[in-house]
């Protein structure tokens, strides 16, 4: 099954982290991505630019409404994602638990809604 790992972390805390800490975190993500790839679980994944760069678009009464900022104002912000292939929910949870974000923020796990013929 395909699963989406949505990574939520506190952007402000990340931005305030000292350089060596930042380096350590990105190295951990690098290693994690690598382990996913070598195990054949990796399908896709990327880091997102901070919510300052976000734009929210919505149609209201036929008019396009464009707003600066993210869809929801939350304590932790969507910061990246992985799409993985996992045998079942247990295997997907095991991968989510290894994601560096699991110990610094939250990893939301969502199965992909597969199209059936």
């Amino acid at each position: 099954m395909r699963y989406m790992l949505l990574i939520y972390v506190n952007e402000a805390a990340m931005a305030a982290a000292p350089t060596d800490k930042t380096y350590e975190i990105s190295a951990a993500y690098g290693a994690y991505t690598d382990a996913l790839k070598k195990s054949g679980a990796w399908l896709a994944g990327d880091r997102l630019k901070p919510t300052q760069a976000a734009t929210s678009v919505r149609m209201v009464n036929g008019k396009t409404n464009v707003l600066d900022g993210p869809y929801a104002d939350t304590k932790e912000q969507l910061a990246g994602f992985y799409m993985i292939e996992a045998e079942d929910a247990d295997a997907a949870i095991a991968w989510a638990a290894r994601c560096p974000a699991a110990s610094a923020g939250t990893v939301e796990l969502r199965p992909i809604w597969e199209q059936t013929m």
């Binding site: 247990d90 949870i93 638990a97 560096p100």
Partner: protein, 414 residues
């Protein structure tokens, strides 16, 4: 540090779990209906968890739970909320249990319940959770987090397992001597799994997990005390006590991971080590060797460093040789390779590791990559070592261990 209040609360909770488990075991053994036994006692147990920390543990805790269960039952019947089966149990409570309670304590049938939960007809991955729920009253959500499964899934698995006990007619009995060995293995394995899940939170920051290690020890003690002639039951308890004795030494004051070889032996818990040693020699005296005794013996050899100042890696290697022959697994093979490396050098260790070849299970098994990285680093094979470290880092879920591995890798690069 824990306050006096915390300690009193924990003691009350333990007492509530013990009495609850005894009652569930006693009721379920009579009807084979674990779910209904839990159902009948659920309210009373919740009330005990809420009240005993404030009022203290009542003199006859089981009688207290039964009395509350009966009172609640009257309410529930009025509201027609209790299930049909739950009502059967409440009848039992009313008629038989209370009659018994007046003159003697309830017989302890938790061991039988554990054997039912760890029956070969029950799927092996749910045995340990089932024991934690029925014997100790943990809820599905707590167990689910500890075993890295979603609460909904864990809940379903537990419900299915309980209905299987009832539908398949799984017996609530301690097996005869002839089949005891194999059946006991399943019970011990389930207890070890509970301990190991709790152990994987070394800093003890997650209360749920720390509790799980404590409960694992408690279950281990229970089985060892109820089956004092079974060397493997003693061996398992010895093994987990050795591990527990090192809890305080596993992290530095700053929360950094400290590998076994670098731990300060003064931080090890002497009393636990002594108890573990006594259990192990008691088990060994019975003359039947087994997996848990061997693993405990490995721990004993590590613990000897506090006396001799060194680790006898040749002896540890021999113990792993024996383990490999009676209970071979990739885990044992990796530990053996590490012991060989210490006793005979990194080249020999690496050779032992490579024998594992391309076992698919190792692809996402962190200890394999960590061991491999360490040995390659010692041999100065920097690029390969870095690659293995990366793999290990990517597979680790404990942030302190991840940091430790990252530092090792960084040192290599310089």
């Amino acid at each position: 540090m824990e306050s006096g209040l915390e300690i009193a609360r924990a003691a009350a909770e333990t007492a509530a779990r013990q009495s609850y488990g005894k009652l569930v075991a006693w009721l379920a053994a009579r009807t084979r209906d674990v779910a209904a036994a839990e159902d009948a006692l659920a309210d009373a147990f919740a009330a005990a968890l809420e009240r005993w920390p404030r009022t203290g543990v009542p003199k006859k805790p089981e009688a207290w739970l039964l009395a509350v269960a009966r009172r609640r039952r009257v309410d529930a019947v009025r509201r027609r909320l209790t299930s049909e089966a739950g009502r059967e149990h409440l009848k039992l409570i009313a008629e038989e249990a209370e009659a018994r309670m007046t003159d003697e304590d309830l017989p302890d049938e938790r061991l039988r319940l554990m054997f039912a939960c760890a029956h070969p007809a029950i799927e092996s991955s749910v045995r340990s959770p089932l024991i934690l729920q029925t014997v100790l009253g943990f809820d599905a959500a707590t167990i689910a987090s500890a075993f890295l499964v979603s609460p909904a899934t864990m809940g379903q698995r537990l419900v299915r397992a309980k209905s299987r006990i009832r539908e398949t007619g799984i017996p609530f009995r301690v097996p005869e001597q002839a089949e005891l060995g194999e059946r006991l293995d399943a019970v011990l394995e389930a207890i070890y799994a509970a301990f190991a899940e709790g152990w994987s939170d070394p800093a003890g920051t997650e209360t749920r997990r720390r509790n799980l290690a404590t409960e694992g020890i408690w279950l281990g003690r229970l089985v060892a005390s109820l089956l004092p002639e079974e060397p493997e039951a003693l061996g398992l308890l010895s093994l987990i006590l050795f591990a527990e004795s090192r809890r305080a030494a596993r992290r530095s004051a700053a929360g950094d991971f400290v590998p076994l070889a670098e731990q300060d032996c003064l931080l090890w818990d002497r009393a636990l080590i002594d108890e573990a040693e006594a259990l192990l020699s008691n088990a060994a005296a019975k003359g039947i060797i087994g997996r848990y005794q061997l693993e405990a013996a490995v721990q004993s050899a590590h613990a000897a460093r506090r006396l001799t100042g060194r680790t006898d890696w040749a002896a540890i290697r021999e113990l792993y040789d024996a383990l490999l022959s009676i209970a071979g697994s990739p885990v044992v093979a990796i530990n053996r390779a590490v012991a060989i490396a210490e006793a005979e050098g990194a080249v020999a260790g690496l050779a032992a590791l490579y024998v594992l070849g391309d076992d698919k299970r190792l692809d996402d098994y962190q200890p394999y990559w960590a061991a491999r990285a360490g040995l390659l680093a010692r041999l100065g094979q920097v690029p390969q070592a870095c690659e293995a470290y990366d793999r290990a880092i990517g597979l680790e879920r404990d942030p302190a261990v991840r940091r430790f591995l990252q530092e090792k890798r960084a040192v290599l690069r310089n």
